[in-house]
Amino acid sequence: MESNLTDMRTVYGKTLIELGKSNHRIVVIGADTTNSLKISQFGKIFKNRFFNVGIAEANLVSIAAGLANAGKIVFAGTYAIFVPGRCVDQIRNAIAYPSRCNQKGLNVKLVVSHGGISVGADGGSHQQLEDIAIMRTIPNMKVLIPADSVSVSELTRIMSEKYGPFYMRMARPKTHTIHHTSQKFLLGKGIIVNDGSDCTIAACGITVKMALDAARLLKKDGISCQVIDMFSIKPLDNDILEKSARKTGFIITCEEHNVIAGFGSAVCETISNTYPVPIKRIGINDSFGESARDSEMTLLFKKHKLTPEDIANNVREIRR
């Protein structure tokens, strides 16, 4: 299935326009990164349902909350470093906290781009490596990390239909297509993208592709890997993880995020409750990133031991 490269943001922008045509409650709001996020076109088509508040992220998410409070389905976003980075309190208190009857939190979808070190050249100050940790600890908040553009499109649609606050992190670079357009996405359900029985590799975002490549390397060694796309970080698919743990006996987690309190930690939290097995968390080892041009991206990932080869080595080591 994996082949051509596509741009997550382009697909996101197009999907919003498609959704916006039939759903007039959808409002889009940005903060001076609307061209980059490919949402400015929405504003050209739906002039009165698009706002650009300038470089003011606290204001961005709080206005989004107010719009949602009045019944709008609000897609707000910029770069991951700024949302949640610049406005955790506003996200917590203005979006996630307000609850009426069965409506938990306000109907705001925080969709950001430029998560992780794959941001590249902009450097460490702009490489968001803490957002999963921050966002998943906020009650009522759901956290999604799509692996490819197909996921982006489907998850955007799901967010528009499902009430409540969401955070979705996209990657800056173009991504390989993992899923077929017919793939069904369900909130809180992982997708097995490679069936296997010797080990489990649970991944999210662009590391799903790395995990698949690692599985291919390991296949040559005769090791069969179960690779799961865990795009839904919260709610987390506890069942698929437990089943996989029972089947394979250990789990490797991959994320473009600090290994502290991120996706791997979330897996540890559930597995320790259900079927404890050894877990190895692969990600950024409690450090910041640094600049790297696109042509140097493999160097950056190698430095952080976050490549298919690194993943495969981890599997080999644990099996030894």
């Binding site: 409002v27 606290a58 206005i63 107010g66 719009l67 009045a70 709008k72 609000v74 307000p98």
Partner: protein, 548 residues
């Protein structure tokens, strides 16, 4: 304006509820709750469309309290306006209560989870933009604090509102000059940042800051109901531009030891002081200069002088030459004067057959209308009462020195707003106060109490420096000053002296009440709640009175 007295009376009750619920909780924020009481009163009575029986009513306006720590103020109003039972306030800040320390949506009527400062204005802009998308006539009213204005997000929001020309939003800045640590101008000055800068003309004032951000700015006294009401009305008229009302208020307003005092930003009053606080709150008074004491040709100028001197009302003596021998002016003159000031017109009709003319006086722009018991009977006053009540006018009755309060009036006492007790024969200015009025007023209190009178007694006739203190003790809370104010060469001095005398009288009453509660030890404890300057002043009075 409408509902002047309803707002005033509710504000008094709300202040007591605020003190009560914070005291009960053992923590909370009295200062910033008390400073916005009149603002909320004006909003609820005259501006916000709401339905307490259906809090989610889709045609409602929205009140966003960005300075969420002032929740006791908001909750007390929501209870008074019928969103929930008043006794629910006793659960404030307690486990299992819908009245959280800072408001959240569990409480009906709450539209925004305020508390973390700086967010509510952006949130309101979102709500206002949504109303615009929906072509809804909804208006958003947002209250922000001055300490809160330290938050950068306030200014992000200020720019956005101007960019989008948001005119379905009225922002009110509760400018009470105190934040948690200390005075705002010491912690983070909003008005002046450069030394040797004259505040009046400085470009650094908060008013000019908002102006330069592209806002329509209205600067008012945030405790004057008529000014708040006027400012909100004006804000609604402005199109394609956001409006902010800078309401200059007093932190802890109404309770002297809390006023301007940073200690009472977030401290609960102890139960033992509540009787004194109640007395203090019941001691609010109004000065009402009667402008006919001036030369009648110069009425506009006299009104301006009184306004400048911070009078509370303009008392207008209407005499028809029939009920009394003299003749002054009628509704035509009042209509003419209405444009001169926003001060409430306290219209005293010394005319016969007031029912016949009542509509004329309402239409002329009166705020409070008092008619004489001698010119009415139960039936005609009943009609007058209903007409005034239906139109949100202040309802007043007046009695002459030699008249007893007639029994037919008792049934109206519950909803009566003011009772003018004349201490001279009506019809002429410059007469001497009739001394027996003191005893008469005191004896009236019994009946008024029995019939649940919640209004104010107005002392009218010969009130001056020498008797005003005793008039206060008698129970009067509105003081008409003819010659003693408007007849003086310095109106401002005259009003200031009236105030000083009454404030001194109040302090004496409080000290003697404190003494009854717990002797000199308790007086001292109470005095120590005040700031240095005030405590030494009160201490001197207590010493003079022989308590210390």
């Amino acid at each position: 304006m409408k509902n002047y007295y309803s707002i005033k009376k509710t504000a008094l009750k709300v202040r007591k509820l605020i003190i009560d619920c914070i005291s009960d909780a053992g923590s909370g924020h009295p200062g910033g709750s008390l400073s916005m009481v009149e603002i909320l009163g004006c909003l609820f009575y005259n501006h916000i469309k709401y339905n307490p029986k259906n809090p989610g009513w889709n045609k409602r306006d929205k009140l966003i309290l960005s300075k969420g720590h002032a929740s006791p103020g908001l909750f007390s109003y929501l209870a008074m306006m019928g969103y929930f039972e008043i006794d629910k306030l006793s659960t404030f800040r307690k486990f299992g209560s819908m009245l959280q320390g800072h408001p959240n949506l569990q409480c009906p009527g709450v539209e925004f989870c305020g508390g973390s400062l700086g967010i509510g204005l952006s949130f309101s802009i979102g709500d206002a933009l949504a109303a615009r998308i929906d072509n809804s006539s909804r208006r958003i009213y947002t209250i922000i604090g001055d300490g809160e204005s330290d938050e950068g997000q306030i200014w992000e929001a200020a720019m956005s509102a101007a960019k989008y020309g948001i005119d379905n939003l009225t922002v009110i800045l509760d400018r009470n000059y105190v934040q948690q640590d200390s005075h705002t101008e010491d912690i983070m000055p909003l008005d002046v940042i450069a030394e040797n800068t004259n505040t009046e003309n400085s470009i650094y004032t908060i008013k000019n800051k908002w102006k330069s951000f592209g806002w329509n700015v209205i600067d008012i006294d945030g405790h004057k109901i008529e000014q708040i009401d006027y400012a909100i009305r004006e804000s609604k008229k402005i199109k394609n531009k956001p409006s902010i009302i800078i309401a200059n208020t007093v932190k802890g307003k109404g309770i002297d030891h809390m006023e301007h005092n940073p200690n009472w930003h977030g401290q609960a009053p102890q139960r033992e002081f509540i009787p004194l606080i109640d007395t203090e709150l019941n001691s609010q008074f109004m000065i009402a200069p009667s402008i006919i004491a001036g030369y009648s040709s110069d009425l506009q100028n006299k009104i301006k002088l009184c306004e400048h001197a911070k009078a509370d009302y303009i008392h207008l003596d209407v005499m028809d030459g029939i009920f009394v021998n003299n003749k002054t002016f009628d509704f035509k003159k009042i209509k003419e004067l209405r444009n001169v000031t926003n001060l409430p017109f306290d219209v005293h009709l010394m005319i016969s057959n007031p029912l016949k003319y009542i509509m004329k006086y309402i239409d002329a722009g009166s705020d409070i209308i008092s008619v004489h018991v001698e010119a009415c009977n139960e039936s005609s006053f009943g009609e007058i009462h209903d007409i005034l009540q239906n139109r949100g006018m202040g309802i007043g009755l007046a009695i002459n020195p030699d008249t007893k309060l007639p029994e037919w009036s008792y049934n109206f006492l519950t909803s009566l707003d003011q009772l003018i007790v004349m201490s001279v024969q009506p019809g002429k200015s410059g007469q001497k106060y009739i001394e027996t009025t003191h005893a008469k007023t005191q004896s009236l209190l019994h009946i008024l109490h029995k019939y649940k009178f919640e209004g104010y007694i107005e002392a009218d006739g010969g009130v001056c420096q020498t008797n005003i203190g005793q008039c206060f003790i008698d129970g009067a809370r509105i003081f008409v000053g003819g010659n003693a104010i408007v007849g003086q060469s310095n109106v401002q001095n005259a009003i200031t002296e009236f105030r000083h005398t009454i404030l001194y009288t109040i302090k004496k009453l409080l000290i003697s009440q404190a003494n009854k509660i717990g002797g000199s030890k308790f007086i001292e404890k109470w005095i120590n709640l005040h700031n240095k300057e005030k405590s030494s002043m009160i201490n001197n009075i207590a010493t003079d009175l022989g308590y210390m």
